[in-house]
Structure formats: C-alpha cells, structure tokens
C-alpha cells in the first residue's frame, strides 16, 4: 500500500475535528479544517463553476453545510475529505441552478483554464492529483515520465537504468494507489 501512515492518522484527527464541531465548537476545529481544505475546495469551485466569485460562495456554503450536518457524519463510512467533497459537489450543483448576486470575476481574469468537463471529472482530477502527492518518489518519477513526457515503459526503464519489470511494477502499483484514492472518496468507474 503506497498511502502513508500519516494519512491514516490525519483522517482520524479530522474526524475528531468534525466531532468537536458537532458538539458545538465552531472556532478552532472549523478554522483548522478550513486551513486544510479551502484551497482544494476553491480550486474545485473554480473549475466546476467557472467563476471565482461563485467559487468563494461555494467554499463558504460548503463549510456552513459541514456545520449543519456534522452531527450526522460517520467516520466509519467516509473520511472527512470525502465528506467535504460531497458537500462541495452538491453545493456547486445548487449554485449552478441559481443566479448569484455577487459581482462576478470571470475565470479568465483569475488566470485559470476554462471550465472543465463534468463536475465529477473535475473532482476526479482534484482527487487524483492530490493522491500523487502521497506516492513514493520512485513511483512518482515513473508516473511523471509516462504522463508528462509520454515515455513508454521501455523508455522509462532505459532513462532510469532500471529493469523493465521494475518499471512495470512501479507503474502498476502507482496507478493502483491512485485508483484506491478515487475509491476511498466514493468515486467508482462508470
């Protein structure tokens, strides 16, 4: 398993933060969860809604919904990360259905690419790129060469001076870890 132990400890820690919010403490626990997840949610919002103003609104509403539903969160069924992504996705869907009264800053002015495909594909992208950060350097290097430089396994083996079998194993394990990240967050192959 490529995902590191600190991730498991972090998951339990975040579940405790949500429990504190459910118990009525919306100060430090909420601030900490905001610190950990605001950027990811904001980036998701920009891609899903195509607008920085609406993305900001989505972030705010997602944390309000976290407070509202914290008492019903079950850490045995999902991680806090998964839960926040679910909240963000439904919030983005609700925002899309209604006009916003906020002054809108178009995505182009924020220097971000145009809105991507569907919301689920956007979320997939966010989750998988997050999970890349949990791969070991050896696995990450193989993935980088394949994805960013379009090298074949044979070319990667030659570049890194490794047996072809080692490259195949590392690539397989890396992709399986990324797939597990999608599964953990409740995303399954169509």
């Amino acid at each position: 398993m490529l995902l590191s132990d600190p991730e498991d400890r972090g998951t339990a820690e975040e579940a405790e933060l949500v429990a504190q919010i459910a118990a009525g403490d919306v100060g430090a626990p909420m601030t900490e969860l905001y610190r950990r997840y605001s950027k990811r949610l904001y980036c998701f919002g920009i891609q899903a809604l195509g607008n920085t103003g609406l993305a900001e609104e989505m972030v705010q509403e997602s944390f309000v919904r976290l407070w509202r539903t914290a008492a019903g969160f079950d850490a045995r069924r999902a991680s806090v990360s998964t839960y926040l992504y679910v909240l963000a996705r439904s919030t983005a869907a609700d925002i899309r259905k209604r006009p916003s009264s906020r002054p809108l800053l178009p995505v182009e002015e924020a220097g971000v690419p145009p809105q991507a495909d569907t919301v689920d594909q956007i979320l997939d992208g966010l989750i998988v790129h997050e999970a890349l950060g949990t791969l070991s350097p050896a696995h990450l290097e193989v993935m980088r060469l394949a994805h960013d430089e379009d090298l074949t396994q044979s070319q990667i083996a030659e570049r890194l001076g490794l047996p072809l079998g080692t490259v195949k194993t590392r690539m397989f394990h890396a992709m399986r870890a990324l797939r597990a990240a999608l599964d953990q967050r409740g995303v399954h192959a169509a």
Binding site: G27, M30, E56, T152
Partner: protein, 256 residues
C-alpha cells in the same frame, strides 16, 4: 496470463495500457489479450478513469486571503440564526379550512376578522423585532498610539441576526476629502499580507472628532476579538488605511 504476471499484480500491462505507455509491439499483444480476458477489461476501465483524471489537473490558484474570515463569519451567522430560531419558534398558523369556511359563510364578519388578524400578526412581528434575546455584552476598549488623544469604546451585544455594536469615539483626527472611518473585526490570524478581517461599518465624525454610532456585524467578537478603526478611502473594500484605534474584546459579560 503472461509469465511476468502475479496474482496480486494481475496483468502488469493493464496500467501502462491505460496511460498509453506500452511499446507498439506490447500494445498489440495486450490489445489481443483484452479480447479474451474480462478481468483485464475491468482493470483497464478502472485505470482509464485514473488516466482521464490525470488529464485534468486542478488550477494552481490560492483562495483570496479574506475568504477565511468570511467563511468563518458565515458559519457563525448560521449558528446564531439557528439559536434564534430555536429560542423563538414561530406561532403555528390558524387552520385555513376553518377560516375559509367562516369567511365564505360570513363575508362581513370575516372582513373585520381579517383586519383584526392582520393587526395581530403585525403586533407579533413587532414584538419579535423589538424583543432581543437575553443579550450578552462584549466590551472593547479602544486606544490610540502614544501621542494621540483619540479614544473610544465599543459594546457589542448579541441579538437577532448578529451583533449590534454601540461605538463611541472621541478626538479622532480630521479626515481628508472623501475619506471615512471604518470599523473592523480582526481574527487571530490577521497579519500584514494575510488579512483576516470583517468590516462592521463606516462612519464620519464632525470637527470635534467625536461621535456615537450603532453598527451591525455577523462577526462574533469572542472569535474576531480585535477591533480596529482605520481611516479609509473609497476603493476595493479592503483595509488599506492607518489604524487609528485598536482594542481587544473582553470576555463576555452579562446583559449590559
């Protein structure tokens, strides 16, 4: 099953196929293999979803610095609204069918009754507006930099819909054309380059630099516990001016 396959690994080329990382010859062999291996087709479907996700990197942007303060204030407001709703439940509406039946049969009397009901409803609303929850008061003494005679005090009371702030100031310096004073709540993480601020409102004072104002904010002074009064120009609604007065909220007291 190819010779280099292992039970836990499955087919070693499934992942590379999804990434397009097989040599042409290997790709041809694996494509043929897929025709007859359902397990590998499932594995490929899983890996292809990963490959599609890799093609959509998230944008490299940071949320605006003040979004944290706004978000936390939104949560605080939701908490207060929920408490208010729990403390002041709405009266149950009268049964419409009975009223309708009475109205249909007694139009003259029902018109008078409707006027009476409307007056009663208005009275209920006015009571709810005027009546405040047992208000906790938070006092925020404000002081200026050494050498300045400016001073002030804010008293924040939790009430319906947020916090009402009673602000008194004295000997504030005169402002230039177009300028105004602005009252801010600052959170614990507020620092240059990383603002954590919520505005409580703007005001101007007369030549004596003295005034008393009532403002409104959703920010809980126990969370955003530093108050600042700055001199601002119209612009992008951020805090840019010099801090004239500052102070820290004292612990909540009973109703004041």
């Amino acid at each position: 099953m190819p010779p280099d396959a292992t039970p836990e690994l499955g087919h070693p080329d499934a992942a590379a196929w999804a990434l397009g990382a097989l040599d042409p010859e290997e790709a041809g062999r694996f494509k043929a293999h897929l025709q007859s291996c359902g397990g590998c087709r499932i594995a490929v479907a899983d890996f292809e979803q990963v490959a599609r996700a890799l093609a959509h990197p998230p944008p490299a942007v940071e949320p605006p610095p003040d979004l944290q303060a706004r978000t936390l204030a939104s949560v605080q407001y939701a908490v207060m609204s929920a408490k208010r709703a729990g403390a002041n439940p709405q009266p149950a509406p009268a049964k419409a069918s009975r009223w309708w039946h009475w109205h249909w049969n007694f139009p003259v009397f029902s018109a008078a009754a409707a006027l009476g009901a409307a007056a009663a409803a208005i009275a209920v609303v006015l009571v709810q507006v005027v009546q405040t929850a047992p208000a906790q008061a938070t006092v925020i003494p404000l002081h200026a930099a050494a050498g300045s005679a400016a001073s002030g005090q804010a008293t924040a009371r939790q009430t319906d819909g947020g916090w009402s702030i009673h602000l008194t100031v004295a000997h504030l310096p005169p402002l230039g054309p177009g300028q105004f004073y602005e009252c801010w709540y600052a959170g614990p993480g507020n620092r240059p380059g990383h603002p954590e601020l919520i505005t409580a409102g703007t005001f101007i004072v007369g030549h004596g630099g003295t005034g008393t104002f009532t403002m409104w904010s959703a920010a809980n002074p126990q969370v955003f516990s530093t108050m600042q009064i700055t001199a601002e120009h119209p612009g992008d609604a951020g805090q840019h001016g010099q801090v004239i007065l500052t102070g820290t909220a004292r612990r909540s007291q009973g109703p004041a």
